[in-house]
């Protein structure tokens, strides 16, 4: 388990918090970024890790139940029910499910097309489950790509996502601007022969910030939790004043170094009607130690295990 593995580093914890405060330059960043100590030591990170794991467990459980004939709506409902049974009451966004060429957002023109449809799963079809539950005030936002039966192309896409995960972490540690990193990911996709499909997301984001959410009344609006939207909006407002943005996009407003905090990163590859993505939380701190300055919240996730199992050369760019 990643948390156990990194527990040994907890000894170096103390300095991190104060360094964070200083490096933030009096901009008074809010939870949990500034409070984040070294990897795995922060109790609030445990909360995020727990809900992220719960979400991935849900994805694996639902994926295991998918059969030919299941519709996207049914798959979304299955995710919702699974998480509701385990205490999830609020959402960053409600679960999505995309089947077939909808995994590559083929022909998407307006955001309503993201919502689950009556498209039925067929043998050999790829699918993506995407959900963002809030559990005890902690948010996760995950994406899970799978396929009903063997699909060599889909497997290739999943393999190639490993390079993106490594690239993003490397460049965030180098403190490149988010826009630059976005374009570097774009270039890697072009070299791989893929299309960038996260450009289809609202504002074309490859990532967005997630944060703690107040528990209580939790309505949703167009599939997004109002509490989470509120958090994002206030981030956006403060970011606008301070010159950063909670949305990681290819546009000028993302032309700033990575902002400490939790980022749900979701590179999405598309290739001629087949799409694959992962989504997980990247922790950015303001530590000077590169290892500590950014790390994936959890390395014990299905897609990471898959790369390790295949002996896939994670970290090596093609």
């Amino acid at each position: 388990m990643a948390s156990a593995g990194t527990a040994g580093m907890a000894g170096m914890a103390a300095a991190g918090g104060t360094a964070a405060g200083k490096a933030a330059g009096g901009r008074a960043p809010r939870a949990p970024s500034a409070r984040t100590g070294p990897r795995g030591s922060d109790p609030s990170l445990d909360g995020f890790r727990e809900v992220q794991r719960l979400a991935y467990e849900c994805a694996e459980a639902v994926a295991a139940q998918l059969r030919p004939g299941v519709t996207e709506r049914e798959a979304a409902r299955m995710q919702r029910r699974y998480l509701a049974e385990r205490g999830v009451r609020d959402w960053f966004h409600l679960p999505f499910a995309w089947f077939g060429d909808r995994t590559a957002f083929a022909g998407f023109r307006h955001p309503l097309q993201f919502f689950p449809t009556d498209r039925r799963l067929e043998p050999g079809m790829p699918f993506i489950l995407d959900m963002a539950p809030v559990h005890r005030g902690y948010t996760a936002d995950i994406g899970y790509s799978g396929c009903l039966g063997p699909h060599p192309l889909h497997e290739k896409l999943l393999d190639d996502l490993a390079a993106h995960r490594a690239l993003i972490l490397e460049q965030v540690r180098e403190r490149r601007s988010l826009r630059e990193i976005y374009l570097a990911v774009d270039q890697l996709m072009v070299r791989q022969g893929y299309e960038n499909r996260h450009r289809a997301y609202p504002f074309g984001v490859i990532a967005h910030r997630v944060d703690r959410v107040r528990e209580g009344w939790s309505p949703t609006l167009f599939g997004f939790g109002l509490q989470a939207l509120k958090g994002l909006a206030s981030d956006a407002l403060r970011g606008h004043r301070e010159g950063w943005s909670p949305l990681w996009s290819p546009y000028r407003f993302s032309d700033h170094p990575p902002r400490p905090g939790l980022w749900a990163v979701e590179p999405h590859l598309g290739f001629r009607g087949t799409g694959a993505k992962f989504e997980e939380i990247l922790v950015v701190t303001d530590s000077r130690d590169p290892e500590e300055s950014a790390f994936w919240l959890d390395d014990d996730l299905p897609h990471v295990r898959r790369w390790q199992d295949c002996g896939s050369q994670e970290g090596k760019r093609p």
Binding site: P152, G193, F271, R272
Partner: protein, 620 residues
Amino acid sequence: MSGSEPTADGGREPAASGAPALEGASVRRVRTAEGVELCVAELGERGRPPVVLVHGYPDSKEVWSEIARQLAADFHVILYDVRGCGRSTAPKPLRGGFTLEKLTDDFLTVINAVSPDRPVHLVGHDWGSVQGWEFVTVRRTEGRVASFTSISGPSLDHFGHWLKKRANRPTPRRVGQLLAQGAKSWYVYALHTPALPELAWRGPLGRRWWPKLLNRMERVSTDDYPTSSLPDDAAHGAWLYRDNVRSRLLRPRDDAYAHTPVQLVTPTGDAFLSPRLYDELELWAPRLTRRTLAARHWAPRTRPDQLTAWVGDFVRANEPDAEAAAGGGTRNGIGAPRRLPAAGAYADHFGGRLVLVTGAASGIGRATVFAFAEAGARVVAVDRDAEGAHRTAEMAALIGAAEAHAEVVDVADESAMEKLADRVRTEHGVPDVVVNNAGIGLAGSLLDTTTEEWRRVLDVNLWGVIHGCRLFGRQMVERGQGGHIVNTASAAAYLPSRSLGAYGASKAAVLMLSESLRAELAEHDIGVSAICPGVVNTNITNTTRFAGTDDKEEQRRRRQATRLYGRRNYPPEKVAAAILRAVVRNEAVVPVTPEARAARVLGRLSPRTLRLTARLRPPV
């Protein structure tokens, strides 16, 4: 064997004078219950999948000579002269002796003699295919035929239903289809007149005019074809029409469903059969694979390589005994039956065909390779960027390419291109489609362009295309079985601009070269298309040289251009689709983006306006 061929019953078969040799064939005579003697030839090793080739009208089994020779490497090939043709005897009397029922008896007699325990794969051309449809739709052959490849010959029953449907419920379109096919069928009416056709065939038509007609109208090489038995074949064969056409077209069978997988090969330039005849054929043949070939009616003579490949693939895919297929399938070095057919656009045209694309590591070239791969082609991705070319080939193999290879070559390098052409020919064969796409960008004022920059842009953009056209065009001409060359020009080829002078000059040269080459190669059935994409979102903006700028300024302009092209966001996939369409329709010049098309129209309507726009300072 020269002079004589052994017969199965120990006798010697005298070779008809002037007959093209089915070299190495063992020939035997099979006697039907009715007393007709059929001449059956066999090639290739027995025990391999048996393939029966049935000829059409006016022909004899020698029409298959080239295809039979090639198929014999992998299969047990069986050919026979239809009754009344070649060295088979004619029934007496002729009238009523050529009904499809009797022809089915002949077929069963032949396959029972040569392949009593194993179902055969059937291939028919023209009347051979008409017969084939009968063989695979009647119950008594069930279990005896494993697959059927139909070339230029519809089922008379399907044809009858086709006519009925159009005559009973005429719409303008249906009437048009009726009239079009009606005009193509003139010879059918002529053959129904008594005695005259026989007189004509036995007179100068059969003896002198027919070879010339075949050569001129069908581009069939007549060195060793047709055989000297043609006048008799043609005179006897007239009864094929008289005995079957009227009865079947007026009262078509309602149960003419194929009980085998069918591969339908439709030549697009067939003077006698409209491709519309095969609309809705899926209703009659549920396991149908469609193939489309740019050829005329006598495709077995003019396109033997492609037909052999398709027949071979189809036989292997439908061979019940997988091990035997693996043993027999040595072409391409892999014997396992392939996935058939591919699903992409124009899969019927490009399935199994060899396509070579230069500049295939990115942008339009890569998208073109992928589009051909989705259509099931065998692709060769050429680029000087080894990593990119290999990546393209790797991805192409995942999306349906029958084979995918990468070649690392700089198209500007003459000797490297010559080696490439030799290598491709020996390893994969002559390409059916060559896309000369590799190109580099060069922007900036002409006065600032150095000679070195000029040389580089001409070397790649023009000389690369010249080498590709010269080397592969030569291979296509030598093979003599058609082909297509696509050259990527540019909208800058006809759109003057103060900032793209050198690039535009190189592309204008490509455009004119393509148009001239098209004229030159037309007589060889080789098409040439020039593609003028326009502003397309590819990597070219990141590698374009900006003349008269230093490194930093160049980087800035590249970024700016990339952003501009990104905002236009015209995907290379659409250009690739235009390239496939251009090959299928044999289009000469294809402007792709709306602005490229508008500029071309404007250049004709008002060249002056176009010249004025050339003076505008570009945003980059």
